[in-house]
Symmetry: none
Subunit: 402 residues, 2 copies
Amino acid sequence: MPFDYLPPLLRESKTKLVLLVMDGLGDLPDARSGLTPLEAAQTPNMDLLAAEGTLGRNVPIRPGITPGSGPAHLALFGYDPLQYLVGRGVMEALGIGMEIGPGDVAARGNFCTLDSMGLISDRRAGRIPSEEAKPVVESLQGIKLEGAKAEVRHVKEYRFALVLRGKGLKGDIEDTDPQVTGAKPLAAKARSAGSQKAAKLFNEWTRKAAKILAKQPKANGLTLRGFGGDPKLPKYKDVFGLKAACVAVYPMYRGVASLVGMDLISVKGETPSDEFAAVKSIWQDYDFVFVHIKKTDSMGEDGNFAGKANIIEGVDQAIPELLALKPDVLAITGDHSTPVPMRSHSWHPVPLLLWSAKNMFADEHKQFGEHNCAKGGLGTMPATDLMPLMLAHAGRLEKFGA
Amino acid sequence: MPFDYLPPLLRESKTKLVLLVMDGLGDLPDARSGLTPLEAAQTPNMDLLAAEGTLGRNVPIRPGITPGSGPAHLALFGYDPLQYLVGRGVMEALGIGMEIGPGDVAARGNFCTLDSMGLISDRRAGRIPSEEAKPVVESLQGIKLEGAKAEVRHVKEYRFALVLRGKGLKGDIEDTDPQVTGAKPLAAKARSAGSQKAAKLFNEWTRKAAKILAKQPKANGLTLRGFGGDPKLPKYKDVFGLKAACVAVYPMYRGVASLVGMDLISVKGETPSDEFAAVKSIWQDYDFVFVHIKKTDSMGEDGNFAGKANIIEGVDQAIPELLALKPDVLAITGDHSTPVPMRSHSWHPVPLLLWSAKNMFADEHKQFGEHNCAKGGLGTMPATDLMPLMLAHAGRLEKFGA
């Protein structure tokens, strides 16, 4: 369990905590203006919170490490991603909205092209476009197995996700991708006795799939990677004493939140106001709400500076709806940086604003932005430190020792 | 041992180090002035040290964790309190000046009220006041045991401390407090074979005490908690190569210092000048002196802003007496924050001033206070990092590797 020292310190409280994550929030300054999208955006509401609160930066994984969305969120939730490993297959499946329960094992699948000897000639099946790959995946959905249910869904281009649902399945299995061309796909091989049943089932599924794919021009073979089951993460109630809710639109974030025991709240619409309305609808029933805004990241990936600033302004305009609920502690940050000039996730520390109705040591910064955050009173800290700080400000922790 | 990498690096030196701890020093700004007690206080001497030295903040335990005084001091001394656990009974006993030696086992005791069936009706004996409880504790001081000596002393209200001194006693014993009313006090139960002798002795003591207490109107029963023996912490001489002395007035701090091998120096009087005079009296004989000022914490607990600032000014006025001894390295900090508006210990990082006669990288801050410390050149660092930094500045560490 992360924070082994916390459970004995947890104190009953009615305080409410909100973690507002703008995906990929962190950025680099525009070469001309010297401002980042967060700094260029007009954010009067977040700036008021900055004035009353304290700024800083979170390091999602370790310095210099660019995080994927799954591990980055785990870190913000308080789970060191180097310690709490979630299989890539599980993340891929969660990312497209597939559920992972106890006893399920997930894997990422790649279509590949096999020659007439059954050797791999292209590990990605010529990167066939999604519209070609989708019906191929659908042709595999009828495969039946003895003692387990197989669920397969298309992800993107040549990629798909496969989940086997049964009893006593374990995912400690080696990849079937030989990582080179000119070799046959490998058999799924159990790394431990407990995973033999699942490995057999994956091989049975692969044999049946091979027959269906045989006539395909490009996607006539497949490999499986990143096997893994439910990571059985400790739950928010036990780790932090919090009844926690997730307000997010995209499946990946809902999936990761469900892994740590957050309840998934349905959202009508996709705007910040829609999400804050969902928060309002369950406000009385929860101690902690995680709210996820996706489009800051998408704009970063598109290299769209103005678009990213616009999304941030939209969030800022809706902030009063959140504040009207009177949270006791509010943290606003990102899961990672997605700088516009890089058009990708990056390792840069992520802006963080911590605000509390009580007992806040405010730093002197009055505007939420990367440059101020780099000098902020919280310093540059591991993302995993955020939750204990939120709990402390919410009056939810007893003293350690006498 | 903490800092396993240090002993091979330790270098003989005649340099002198002083760690001056103002208990509960850290605070929050006053709503009107925006200043903390440390900032509002006139501290020309500490400000001169700040100008020549470097500021920063120490995090005693972990971010967000409010420390008790015992663990907070262990951390400043260089011992991670999550790794070096000291039983609550030991801390309680040390706190009232009882000694804990090898082979001793200490426990915290609570008086409780038993009904005619021997079931607990009040776990705190109606929180009887100290003046009522004290003679009851004294009535237990005559209890004799076979093969061990029992020492019992009143702590506060319904609480007392009990130390058994014998041979081969170990404190791995379960609490006798059932934590609920309507149940009998439990027997002391050894968690390991080595603790059975001590458990038997505690039960024998409890039986004899029960007879003496039977006629008491409220305190007619007792429970024991937090059993523990000498934690056998590595000593300062071995960890840091320092002959270390403790100049403190209050028993708790003297107790914790003795656990890490500091010699306890007697102090005539209680003022900062009295304590610095005690430092002077042993200056030639020691490498390292820990000086503890208690009243900053007491004023914080009382919510007395002006009082806390006054205590700090009193310390500042006496600082020249300390500097006249020509220490090579001086660190001034607190063990934790005790903010006036909270009237209690808190998790807020603690102001830290590091001054060295040599090789100091001074930051630009010229006044010792929370806001400057938050931006100081040392950053916000674990309290356990302080000792190696002091050793380095004192020229007491060789190069690591070639």
